[in-house]
Amino acid sequence: MLKRNRIVKFKEMLIEKLLLCCSLLSVFTTAAIIYVLLSESVGFFKEVRIIDFLTDTQWTPLFTNKHFGILPLLCGTLLTTLIAIGVAVPVGLISAIYLSEYATVKMRHITKPLLEILAAVPTVVYGYFALLFVTPLLKKFIPGLSGFNALSAGLVMGIMIIPLVSSLSEDAMHAVPMGLREGAYALGSHKIQVAFKIVFPAALSGITAAVILAVSRAIGETMIVAIAAGQQPKFTLNPLVPIETITAYIVQISLGDTPHGTLEYQTIFVCGTTLFILTFALNVISFKLKRRFQEIYE
């Protein structure tokens, strides 16, 4: 009996340890990402001065006259991100207010999963849509628009991240205690005043967390910009011409056969590092804001 007990105990402990190892895999993944990015980037910065990398306004690693300035790629990323946010934030927030404060329960149950489908469509499909539907459509209104441009890529990306903004903000508004709303109604407020002057400000840190997460998603989005925004790193904020984002460059160079150990090969990792730092910083801020929001109301 005692022996059997010991075996059972040992088995229990073994299972717990095994499951702990599964969890530790996440820590290992993060460590591996940082290690891979840094180890190759170090080699790159032995050849290229950091100051050139940060200030040179040309990015031409594949030409004979090589320049390694990240600014054009950053600029392209910023441009598509701004356009995407310009679509996703107003649309997402208005949807969230509508769904949280105005819509009937039935309406919400039908609309929410349908909106989620927008986020489930593969990004390569959105790329096709941006290149072959949105760009030709926009060309009818903007004659000077290039076949590849930041505008349609950004617009379509914005549509893709609507559900991210709307569902996270709606969760935040939903968490605002009923008492706040009732208090405002008791003072004679209308629904629109309650929505914009009570619920919205009360949920603001949760909403901000959602918007920051959306920015981070837009910065990291790859296939839409790789297909529809072009492959010309340009230091410009003109949305009508071909540009190149950090992510699109990574795809472009991965398609070619770049031998290991060359400077071109290392640019993949330097771009990856830049991308990782940007998104990581935004994710941490968003995470902290969301946690603070939860502390207030739970």
Binding site: C22, S26, V36, I117, T123, I250, G272
Partner: protein, 300 residues
């Protein structure tokens, strides 16, 4: 107009605007679906599913792409489901509130936000350079498994959290150990919700393109990974082989990307047809997940 009246009017205006804006996203979705179907439906035929990619757009098909997608999904599922569910069980049922648990949780939250293309770079450095897996099914599956792991962990935790503690207590009261309780009570009770999360995660993995391009998954693959099961007339009749996991592959989204980036119009039609197939799979999986979630809204 009095202030009250104005407010009332604003109220109904916002109600209309809110509805219109909410429907805007769905309208775009409808436009996308119609556009793709109009562009590609004429290429959908039996031959399209049974032909390899070709230099002639009319003869090109998605055989290697859909078989590759099947292989990659199988590999991803075999790796990500046990690891993700296991990790979720640990964090929800075993982990004590301490620094290590906090650290693991922050890591998972962060990994969920890492852009997918970075996972591709991780794969390039780790699986291709360091482990020499080449551009194989295994390397692709490993990358996608790591990519969807946070999703599976988070949904597993949510599903387990929804199982009331009275079920656990009843099981302990009958003398069951912690693992017996999890294995026979908690997991079955949360199974529906865990499955929903797994389906959603897998549907995301099916559409991923960027991380697989980063490891240089070739776009022209006129062959299939080696068959895992082969039959022969003599003993031992059935041969099992894992060679397929080490073979190169292509998947549907990569094939679509390849066709989209060609200048010839015929390939764009092929791309649209490929998208119809990919979207059908994705939407079916999402529909199944929504249905499951709806069905599992159990009140304890």
């Amino acid at each position: 107009m009095s202030k009250r009246k104005l407010d009332k009017r604003m109220d109904s205006v916002f109600k209309a605007v809110g509805l219109a804006v909410t429907l805007f996203g769905l309208l775009v979705l409808a436009a996308l679906l119609i556009d793709v179907v109009m562009d590609g439906y004429q290429r959908i035929s039996w031959d399209f599913f049974t032909s390899y990619p070709s230099r002639k757009p009319e003869q090109a098909g998605i055989l290697s792409a859909w078989v590759g997608t099947l292989w990659i999904m199988l590999t991803t599922a075999l790796l990500a489901i046990p690891l993700g569910v296991g990790s979720g069980i640990y964090l929800e049922e075993y982990a004590r509130r301490n620094k290590l648990t906090d650290f693991i949780e922050i890591n998972i939250a962060n990994l969920a936000g890492v852009p997918s293309v970075i996972y591709g770079i991780l794969g390039l450095g780790l699986f291709i350079r360091l482990m020499h897996l080449d551009r194989s099914v295994l390397a692709g599956g490993l990358i996608l498994a790591l990519l969807i792991l946070p999703v599976i962990i988070l949904t597993t935790r949510e599903a387990l959290r929804a199982v009331p503690s009275s079920i656990r207590e009843a099981s302990y009261a009958l003398g069951a150990t912690q693992w017996q309780t999890i294995r026979h009570q908690v997991l079955p009770a949360g199974f529906g919700n865990i499955l929903t999360g797994i389906i959603l995660a897998m549907s995301r993995a099916i559409g991923e393109t960027a991380p697989l391009i980063t490891i240089g998954a070739l776009t022209y693959i006129p062959f299939l990974p080696a068959n895992p099961v082969a039959f022969s007339p003599e003993s031992p009749y059935i041969h099992l082989s894992a060679q397929g996991f080490l073979d190169p592959f292509t998947v549907l989204p990569i094939q679509i990307f390849n066709w989209v980036s060609r200048p010839q119009k015929g390939f764009l039609t092929d791309a649209a047809a490929g998208i119809i197939v990919l979207l059908t799979i994705t939407l079916l999986m999402n529909g199944a997940a929504i249905f499951l979630r709806y069905k599992n809204q159990k009140r304890w």
